[in-house]
Amino acid sequence: MANVNLTINGKAVSAETDDRTLLVEFIREHQGLTGTHVGCDTSQCGACLVLMDGKAIKSCSTLAAQASGSSIITIEGIATGAELHPVQRAFKENHGLQCGFCTPGMVIAAIDMIERLGPDLDEPTIRKELEGNICRCTGYHNIVKAIKAASMQMATQLEAAE
C-alpha cells in the first residue's frame, strides 16, 4: 500500500491506497470529487486533466503515489468561492460546452495555456494547444471562442492591474 499525502483544492489529504491507484481514481473514488472524468484509456482525451503544482497533467496517466507531496487543483477548486474563474464564465457565455463531460478538462487546459502563453491568444495557437483534449459535441468552434474571450478578458484584467 502507498501512503499518499497531498493537498486537493487547498485541503490536506492523507490516505493509504493500493500502489496501482491512478490519481484520477484517487480523486474520484477516494475523495468523491467526481468532476474529473475519464474519457479514454490511452491518455488522449484530456477529460481527466487536473492542475498538479500549477500545471495541467493527465490524472489518468499518473499514479496517486507519484502525485504524493504535490498540490492538486481539480475543476471543483477552480472558482474562488462563488466567483467563477474567467475561463468558466467564458465557457458559459460562449456556449463552449454541450454534454459537459469534456468540459472540466477543457477548462483546466485553457487555464494552463493562458497562464503559460500569456493572455490574448490567437485561434491557431488555441487549436494547437487543444491537441490533448477531445470534444465530440461542440465541434470546438465555441470552445476556441470561449478560450479566446477568456484570454482577452484576462489580458484586460492584467492591464487594469498594472
Partner: protein, 787 residues
C-alpha cells in the same frame, strides 16, 4: 422578441453545474455495498464457445460471482430485440439470429460478452475477468458485407441464409427502368459509406440496484431514452414488470445514437444485482466502447442517375448492401431502409426512384443509428452522384442542382416522403454568397501559386426528422409509437416544473424548454425547472434521437402549455370578474385587455391551489399534461459549401472555409442551434477526412482506440460560417424542424466534392486520408500542369 422567449440567445441553465464539476453522470453515482462488474469478452470474431472455467477467477480476492450465458438463459432473460420489423421484397419477414446478453455457445464478434465477474472493486473484477478460462473453437470470419453475401462465405446465423437478414425494395422498378431507357445521359457511381464509431466522450455505464424486500430494481444508466429502456427491459428481457423497475438517466455525456439502445451490459447488471444481492456497477472503458457501442454507416452502393436532354433528372436507381454487424440492434433494420431510401430524392424533383437494400450479417460489432442514421448515407450518395453528373455534363454543380430543385410544396417524392415546406434556392444562394462562390477561381489561382491544390464542394441536403406519425411508422414496421409527452406543473407560488419525455445529453433542453414557458407566460426562465430522465418522475416518453426533441417534444410542451393557459385564464377571469376572452398573459401577469386590472401569475396559481374561490365546478390545482403525435416528418434542409486546400506532397487536406446555410424552421435559441450545427459538422468532417472503423480479415478491430481511430481534434477543423434561412414547418404548432443531425448529414459530401474538385474531378473514397489523397494528387498534378 421576449428577453428569454423564442429566438433569444439565453445562456444555458445547465452550464453552471458542468463548468463547476457538479454534473452527475452515471459513473458518479455511488451506492452502499456496491459491487463492480467486468465482462469476459471474446477475443475472436467467430468461434464456438466450448467451455467457461471460472475456478481461478472465483478464488481471486474480492470476487462475488462469475455469471455465464447458460445461467442467464436458464433465468429466462430474453434475447435482444430489433424494434422495427422489415419485410423483404418477397414479403417474408427479416431473418433474425438470436442475440443473448451473455453468449453461451457461439460468439460472432470480437468483444461479445460471454461472462461477467462481480467483485468488490473495479480492479478486482478486471483482475478476475482476465483469468476466466474460456475454451473456443475458432471459426472462419467475414467482415465485409459484399464478401458475406458470397455463397462460400462463413455463415453467422442458421436463421439467415447467405447471411442475409432482408432483401428490401422501395419504389417502382419498372418505371425507373423505362426512364433509363429514354435517358439522354446516365451517370454511374460506386461508393462506400465508411463505418464509424460514435464515441460520445462519456463511455456507457450502468448501476443496477435490486431491492429484494420490494422486488424492485433501480437502474442508473447512460440512456437517451430511459422509458424505452424500461419498456424493453420489462417487456422483452423479462427483468421485472415496469412498475417494479425505475430507470434513471442522469447527466449523460453525449449519445449521438449510441445510447438509444439497451445493451447486454445493462441487462446483465440488473440480473446480476439480484443474483449477488448488492448493487452492481459497470463502467465501460474506451476500448470496450469501441468494441461494443453500436457502430454507424457501413454501406456499399451502386447508383445510376438518368437525365433527359434538358439536363433534368428523370430517375435514380440504387443498389445498397448494408452491414448489420453480427446481430440486429434495436433500430438496425430501419436505418438502411426507412431512414435511408426515403431520402434518396434529396432536394430534387426526381419522378422515379428505385432502391434495393440488402442487409447482411458480418463478424463485426452491430451497426445501428449514429447521428443522422440513414440520412447521411442517402445524402452522401445523392450529392456525390449529382456532382459527378454535373461534371460529366460540363455544368456548374450549383447550377445543375438548382436546375433540378423542387420548388412547389407540398411535394410527394416517389419514396414515401411528402415534403411540406422549403426554399432550396434561398439556402443555396445564401451559402454561395457567404462562401464567395463566384470568386473561387481567384482563390484557387492564389493557392496554386503557393503550391496548394484548392477545391470547392457543395452539398444540398435534406433530412427527415421527428419520425412520425405513430400510425404511419407502425404500418411500416415500427415496434413503438413515436409521439412525445409533456407535463406542466405550476407550483402554488407560480414557479413551474416541466416534465418531458425527451432527454437532454448535451442539447440544452433545460434552457430551451424553459424558453418556451418564458415565451408563453412572460416568466423568467429561472422560475422554470425541466425534469427529465427518470421514469419515476416522468410518466412516459420516447426520448431523444433523430432531431426530434424540438419538433416533437416541444410540441407536446406547447400543447400542455395551451391547457395551463386556458385554465389560468379561466381562474383570472373569474377572480377579475371579466370575460375569459378578454384575459391576456404578459410579463408574468394576467390582465384584462385595455384596463389596468391584473393578477400576477403567482396570484392565479395560488388561487388554483387554495381553491377558495374557483369557477363553478373547476378542479383545484394547475397541472396539465399532453401527448403530441406529429402529423408528418419535418424536413430540415440546406446547403453546405466546403473549400479545401491540399498539400500535394503529403496529401494532407486542410479545410480553409466551411459555410452552412440551413433551414431549421422556427429556432428557439440560435446559440444552441449553432452549437448543434458546429458539432454535427465536425462529425461529418470527421467521417469525410479522418474516421474509419477498420477491421482486418480475421475480424479484429484495428482502430479500437484513439491511437488508431482518428477523432477530430481542434486543429483538424476551422471555425464555421453559419447562415439560417427559415421556412416554417406547417405540421407542428411551433413550426420547428430539428437541427441536431444536419451537420453530420450535409458535411461529408461537401468535403468530398471539394477534394474531388481540387484533384480535377477524380473519385475519392471516405475517409480521404493523407495517403489516399497523396496518391490521387500525384496522378492529378502532371495532368493539371499540362492543362
Amino acid at each position: 422578441m421576449k428577453a428569454e422567449g423564442i429566438g433569444a440567445r439565453v445562456l444555458r441553465k445547465e452550464d453552471n453545474r458542468f463548468i463547476s464539476g457538479k454534473g452527475n453522470y452515471t459513473d458518479d453515482v455511488v451506492l452502499p455495498r456496491m459491487g463492480h462488474a467486468a465482462f469476459v469478452r471474446s477475443p475472436h470474431a467467430h468461434a464456438k464457445v466450448l467451455g467457461v472455467n471460472a475456478e481461478a477467477a472465483l478464488a481471486m480476492p474480492g470476487v462475488d460471482a462469475v455469471l455465464t450465458g447458460h445461467q442467464l438463459v436458464a433465468d429466462g432473460i430474453g434475447n435482444i430485440i430489433c424494434g422495427w420489423l422489415v419485410h423483404s421484397k418477397d414479403g417474408s419477414p427479416m431473418n433474425m439470429g438470436a442475440w443473448r446478453a451473455l453468449e453461451p455457445e457461439h460468439v460472432r464478434f470480437v468483444g461479445q460478452a460471454i461472462a461477467v465477474v462481480i467483485a468488490d472493486t473495479p480492479q478486482q473484477a478486471k483482475d478476475a475477468a482476465a483469468v476466466v478460462d474460456v475454451t473456443y473453437e475458432e471459426l472462419p470470419a467475414v467482415v465485409d458485407s459484399l464478401a458475406a453475401l458470397a455463397t462460400e462465405a462463413p455463415q453467422l446465423h442458421e436463421e439467415a441464409p447467405r447471411n442475409t437478414s432482408f432483401d428490401w425494395e422501395l419504389g417502382e422498378e419498372q418505371q425507373v427502368a423505362d426512364a433509363f431507357a429514354n435517358a439522354a445521359h446516365i451517370t454511374k457511381l460506386d461508393l462506400t459509406n465508411n463505418r464509424l464509431v460514435p464515441n460520445p466522450m462519456e463511455p456507457r455505464a450502468a448501476l443496477a440496484d435490486y431491492n429484494s424486500a420490494e422486488e424492485h430494481y433501480t437502474l442508473y444508466t447512460t440512456s437517451q431514452n430511459p422509458h424505452v429502456a424500461r419498456l424493453v427491459l420489462s417487456a422483452f428481457y423479462n427483468v421485472a414488470p415496469e412498475h417494479k423497475l425505475r430507470v434513471i438517466a442522469p447527466d449523460v455525456g453525449g449519445g449521438f445514437g449510441s445510447k438509444i439502445y439497451i445493451y447486454p451490459e445493462e441487462i446483465v447488471c440488473l440480473w446480476a444485482s439480484k443474483k449477488v444481492g448488492r448493487p452492481v456497477k459497470w463502467n465501460c472503458d474506451r476500448t470496450e466502447a469501441f468494441l461494443t457501442d453500436a457502430h454507424g454507416r457501413d454501406h456499399h452502393s451502386h447508383a445510376e442517375l438518368a437525365m433527359d436532354a434538358d439536363n433534368r433528372i428523370t430517375a435514380l436507381r440504387v443498389e445498397t448492401t448494408a452491414n448489420l454487424g453480427a446481430y440486429m440492434s434495436l433500430f438496425s433494420s430501419a436505418v438502411p431502409t426507412y431512414l435511408y431510401a426515403t431520402l434518396l430524392s434529396g432536394q430534387y424533383d426526381i419522378p422515379a426512384i428505385y432502391a434495393n437494400v440488402k442487409a447482411v450479417y458480418t463478424n463485426t460489432t452491430p451497426v445501428d443509428a449514429y447521428r443522422g442514421a440513414g440520412r447521411p448515407e442517402a445524402t452522401y450518395l445523392v450529392e456525390t452522384i449529382v456532382d459527378k453528373a454535373a461534371r460529366e455534363l460540363g455544368l456548374d454543380p450549383a447550377d445543375f442542382r438548382s436546375h433540378n430543385f423542387i420548388r412547389s410544396f407540398p411535394h410527394q417524392t416517389p419514396v414515401i416522403m411528402n415534403y411540406d415546406a422549403g426554399d432550396y434556392d434561398a439556402t443555396l444562394s445564401a451559402a454561395k454568397q457567404a462562401a464567395n462562390y463566384a470568386d473561387f477561381a481567384t482563390r484557387k489561382a492564389e493557392a496554386a501559386a503557393r503550391g496548394k491544390l484548392r477545391g470547392i464542394g457543395l452539398s444540398c441536403y435534406i433530412e427527415a426528422c421527428g419520425i412520425a406519425p405513430s400510425q404511419a411508422v407502425g404500418s411500416l414496421g415500427a415496434g413503438v409509437g413515436l409521439w412525445e409527452s409533456a407535463e406542466v406543473r405550476v407550483n402554488p407560488v407560480g414557479t413551474i416544473e416541466v416534465l418531458t419525455g425527451s432527454h437532454s445529453h448535451g442539447q440544452g433542453h433545460e434552457t430551451t424548454f424553459a424558453q418556451l414557458v418564458a415565451e408563453r407566460f412572460g416568466l423568467p426562465t429561472d422560475n422554470v425547472t425541466i425534469v427529465h430522465g427518470d421514469t419515476d418522475k416522468v410518466q412516459f416518453g420516447m426520448g431523444t434521437y433523430g432531431s426530434r426533441s424540438g419538433a416533437v417534444g416541444m410540441s407536446a410542451l406547447a400543447k400542455a402549455l395551451d391547457k395551463v393557459e386556458v385554465k389560468a385564464k379561466r381562474i383570472a377571469a373569474h377572480l377579475l370578474e371579466a370575460d375569459e376572452a378578454d384575459i391576456t398573459i404578459e410579463d408574468g401577469e394576467l390582465k384584462i385587455v385595455g384596463t389596468d386590472k391584473k393578477l400576477s401569475f403567482t396570484d392565479v396559481s395560488l388561487a388554483a391551489y387554495m381553491a377558495h374561490n374557483l369557477p363553478e365546478g373547476m378542479e383545484p390545482g394547475l397541472k396539465e399534461g399532453a401527448f403530441y403525435d406529429p402529423q408528418n416528418f419535418t424536413f430540415p434542409a440546406g446547403t453546405h459549401v466546403c473549400e479545401v486546400e491540399i498539400d500535394p506532397a503529403t496529401g494532407k487536406v486542410e479545410i480553409v472555409q466551411f459555410v452552412a446555410a440551413d433551414d431549421f424552421g422556427q429556432i428557439i435559441n440560435p446559440m444552441i442551434v449553432e452549437g448543434q450545427v458546429h458539432g454535427g459538422l465536425v462529425q461529418g468532417i470527421g467521417q469525410a477526412l479522418l474516421e474509419n472503423a477498420a477491421y482486418d480479415a480475421d475480424g479484429q478491430l484495428l482502430s479500437a482506440s484513439y491511437m488508431d481511430y482518428t477523432m477530430p481534434r481542434a486543429d483538424n477543423v476551422p471555425s464555421f460560417k453559419l447562415e439560417t434561412n427559415s421556412t416554417l414547418c406547417p405540421s407542428n404548432p411551433l413550426g420547428m424542424k430539428g437541427c441536431g443531425e444536419a451537420g453530420a448529414i450535409g458535411a461529408p459530401p461537401a468535403v468530398m466534392n471539394a477534394i474531388s474538385d481540387a484533384l480535377g474531378g477524380v473519385e475519392v473514397s471516405m475517409p480521404a486520408t493523407p495517403e489516399k489523397v497523396w496518391r490521387l494528387a500525384q496522378a492529378a498534378l502532371p495532368k493539371q500542369a499540362a492543362e
